[in-house]
Amino acid sequence: MRYFIFILLFLFGFIAGCKKDKLPELPDNNSPVYYVNGTIGEKQISYEAGVEEMYMETDFYDLNNVIQYNANLVSENNFFNISIADANLDIPAYSIEFDTINTLDLAGVNTTPLLQLSKESFNNASQINAVSWNINGVDQMTEYISIDEPGYYTICVNVEFNNGSKRELCNDLILGYEKNTSFGVRHYINQENLLNCFIDIPETEIESISWKVNDAQFIIANTLSFELEDQIYLIEADISLKNGVKRTRRIFIDGANQENFIEDFSVMENQNEDYFWDRKARLSLKLGNDIWEPLNYENKIYLSEVVESGVNEEGQIVYKITGTFDGAMMNKNTLEEANGSFEFKLAFAIP
């Protein structure tokens, strides 16, 4: 029997001495993280990501070329959605800083024009026979354009001068969003037929300006100056300011007919500075076929907690945002009004 015990001990020792690979560990079970609970009128709302086909979706969409950070708790028939508009559109590297936000104003419907343009908008309107417009690649049928909704617009004007010549110039305009610095490209031609171009802000704010003439790099300097010849010039300035603002401005010069120019009409983006959509939120709730939206845009979304929760599979930083909303809402289909009250935890990602 003693031998048997020795054998047993030997076997145990042998096995215990063997190196064992570690099994991969599974993540811990948890409860639903993202949710919305509340009521719309008498109806109880309770959505949880991962339950009843409901899932949390974070993405971005463009609204008039402005990024909207979108959190969508969605299933096949229902969703609870909050999107937040970007800000600092004139600073390309900027991403919205969720952790600085305590309240989200609702993005209302603007009723006053943010931009109005016509032939008369130009200082040399007397030299212009007709104008036509193109907004974000879409030709406009009228000489007069009016834009009410905030966005980052590319507007092209096609000018027919009195001598029959036709020229086109495009510029980018930020409407309904705050600009960190407002400026425009100005020009004058002196008696020696020398063209001088500059921007109308103090030189100290300028980091660099890259000037292109007829799509060819010309000079990097705060000002552009050269002698005009009898030809047309498309002058483009890529402007970088010390505060991070980067804008591109264009003007058109006709060396032969110096009155037939098209000035930098992007300065018109400051026509209406009463209404901005920076960091404004849109909220909507879908219940079957009904979509409910806030009725009173004075109401706010209050954020009680904003936590950076990691990086998603696309490498985007994800924020967990907990908040509440309480206010009147309207059924967009039936125009029925009801009070909506929600508590939510949603995820927003930043690209």
Partner: protein, 419 residues
Amino acid sequence: MNLNDENIDQLFRKSAENVKAPEYSDAYWAEMNQMIDAEEKNKKRLIIWTFFGTIGAALVALLLFFNNETTNLNSSYQISENSNPAQNEASDAVTNHSSASADISQKKIDPNQDLTSIDGKSKTLNKIEVEKYSPKVDKKASKANKTFNLSSNNSNKTEGFDKVINQKTKNNAKKVLVNAKNKTFISAESNIAIQKLPAKLIGFETSSETEENLIPLKNISNQLHVSYHAEAAFGVSESYQNNTTSPWRFSVSGLARLEYGQLVVNTGIGVQVESPANLQVTERAKVYGFGLKNYENTLNYKSFTQVFIPLEVGFKSNNSTFGVGGQFHSIVGTRMSLTSKVNQEITAKKDFNNQMAGLNRFSGNFYLFIDQQLTDKISAGVRVGSAIGSRIADSHYFNSVTNDQPIFGQITLKYQLFK
């Protein structure tokens, strides 16, 4: 609050609206089906066990009956009690064998007399008051409603004296020589053969009426026959899961066999390999985030290597040994393949050795066995049994095992190494 019918109805409606309906998942149905299957399997197992248990009990009963019959036929020395019909018969036997008793009464056994058995072993009975073993025994025993029926049959085979039963009745203390090996003994002087006193009856008698102590005539180890055997066993087992191959079991072991009369006890140590085990356990995690991710680690154990300690108790009859046995197992090695899945999509596959995740290291089994002696040294047998206790350990491992305690059968071959 006014709890009229309308309000109550409203309350119930609101409550019903507020309560979330249970989430449906196909996986739950699958789990439920497996649970139902397992339950049905358990019922089947119960039936099988009942069947085998009945057979086993019948075998044991048969064996005992067979032993009793043998004892009755051969018995010439009985303790009987008048209050018992069997004892009355025994009293009659006293009358029938009065002449033999008379012979006994006339003889005195010398305490120092050597008693020689047929097997040639010489035994000296010192300090034995055999002189009290006389007709007085019958008379006094009769007074005390006790009759010792000392009779002889035709069998005069003796192997030796093994015990002295120091038997004290209420009226008189007497010591009786008893052959506990189912053999007769012969007094050296009287040549009186006294056949075996079934130990079972003695025990009954002494516990009820007498203060009776068994005093070993010599060291009891002399009565034990110990031999050492090597055993190889090969067989199959029920599969742990439906639609999988039944695993085979191969074991080798070293056994010490202890024989005491007809009683046989085997114990020792062995190693068993079970393959392909096809025992599958699954660890799952539900992780909520943007949605629900179902993580799975499925561990498919392909084989087990186990050290075991067997313990078998049986009865030997002629060349056959019947009995029950059990084995205490400890897993010492495994082969296993891991499949990791996320939302049912396989993300990783890897083989591992000597993992114990999801398993109990220790387990056991219980079986019935029968061995047939083929030659002096070789015996062959069969054992049929079932595992005891669950193989699956951690509760967080969901297992698709439908038969956690499989029935197995093995053919055994024993070879006697030495005595």
